[in-house]
Amino acid sequence: MALEINGKVIETDEEGYIQNLNDWSPEVAEKMAGEDGCELSDNHWEVINFLRNYYQEYQIAPAVRVLTKAIGKKLGPEKGNSKYLYELFPYGPAKQACKYAGLPKPTGCV
């Protein structure tokens, strides 16, 4: 599978996650979200940017509690929970948000 952004072809795996993490750009996230029928708001971007920064430091997506705590600090305590994250990313914050952020899919019993 592949994604085409401004004439450039970006390889993705069977589930649509990009293969080479350096291929990511904000347009990648916009394009993926568009295909899911979702428009990215500032709040989506808060999550995506946090995921990318965390990944750069730790080479893994953050655990859900790490993420909800960070989002609660940024967007207000009423948004620091997974219910809110599921409103933003109905396919699951770990999987859908990681995909848009250009990170590998979390594996295991999750």
Binding site: E15, I60, P62, A63, V64, G108, C109
Partner: protein, 501 residues
Amino acid sequence: MAQQAKFDVPKLREYPIVPRVREGAMQHSKPFVAKPEFQQPLGFPGELVDNWKEVALGKMGELLNKYRSVQVFLDICVKCGACTDKCHYYLGTADPKNMPVARQDLLRNVYRRYFTFTGKYLPKLVGAVDLTQDVLEDWYRYYHQCSECRRCSVFCPYGIDTAEITMAGREILDSVGIGQKYTNEIIGKVFKIGNNLGLPEPALADTLQGLEEEVKADVGVDVRFPLDEKGAEVLLVTPSADFFAEPHVDGLIGYAKVLHQAGISWTLSSYASEAANFGIFSGNYENMQKVAQRIRDAALDLGVKRIVVGECGHAWRVAYSFWNTLIGPFDFLDPKYPAPQHICELTYDLIRQGALRFKREANDHRVLTFHDSCNVSRGSRMGSTPGGQFEIPREIIKACCNHFYDMAPETIGESTFCCGGGGGLLTDDLLELRVKGALPRMEALKRVVDEHGVTHMAAICAICKSQFSKVMPYYGFEMDMIISLHQLVGDALDWGATAAH
């Protein structure tokens, strides 16, 4: 919150009905095949080998010798039909190849053709078939529509264990180069990083520190989540989902609170940061051994006296039934405790000693039921009496909750229905199978919801928890209805007296 699905979600009925057979209903369902990079670290060919037929039959011959049970199971079926309506995947999909006997026949018919006298000379007489590309593809499809839950074996008068047939089927597939991406990628991550998630030590340490802060803010007690602390009494190995996902993490918080209140020193290990052992799913002994070995090595390195296993179904089966031969003996551990010990056994012992203080009212907003996980229910045990694996979790729930109702007896205990995502099938590429396979459990749950107002279902398996969070919304249940058993324990612990202590 109903989910939109690209397939028909079964309707919940008042009484379960065995469906009429629908030939080929799940013929299209198969998981992604592992790429060479996920195959090779496990010792399997990267892609389908040229002489696959020869290799497959060679592997089958090897397995027949190595596991006599497999040959016995292939020989003794009398086609009585007792298993036909026992598999949750048959009940949910109506595909006749999901009847356990038919699943076994996929291997049995080839076994007869090449390994039995009548099959070699009079194949038609005994239903023996040649190993063709079509057969190989059916193996891949239908050995990935079995969660190795072993419910059918409970009802088989001969005790034929379809899980072992599935494991043999998958091992043959791996040996010819067609592995399953989900399982094999994960085993590779354990070899490389130490857990299914690929969670490196710094991220684990950061996550645990966050949990310490969270618990402190919640209950005002300095409950610790120690990592790599030499000389601790207990090494806790738990599924890495407990660090990462909800509702799992609340179970981990529960274990930590229990250990803290009981004053037991404990540690997690960054080297053995995974209790799960997907080696059992693929049936490959060497991989299963290698995954398990990390836990023995960590226990010796940290100098612990006890190994306790967190809430993970198949991890407990591997630990209880196979660790002794895989990575034993455990003569370096304290003989006063079971080796290994389940976290539920530990908590239950503490409850009986009066070492934990509960405020049961803390769970009064919940009405509970309990989902028995297949790998704990069948082929392992807890405590020192038969059925302890059913009794102990329920006794723990009753000790910390006022409202508990069991689901129908034919759907729990030894006859429990799989969540629909076990055995290496908890992957999005099998979502249709997972949703349909959850039907029997969802119908049983619906009945206690309607009759008793059940609000939550507790479980002691990371796969069950993730599977239910994902599939329950398809049946009109909220995803947070599934809860970790140790969250109930953690929420009910009374810190009033210890704050001073």
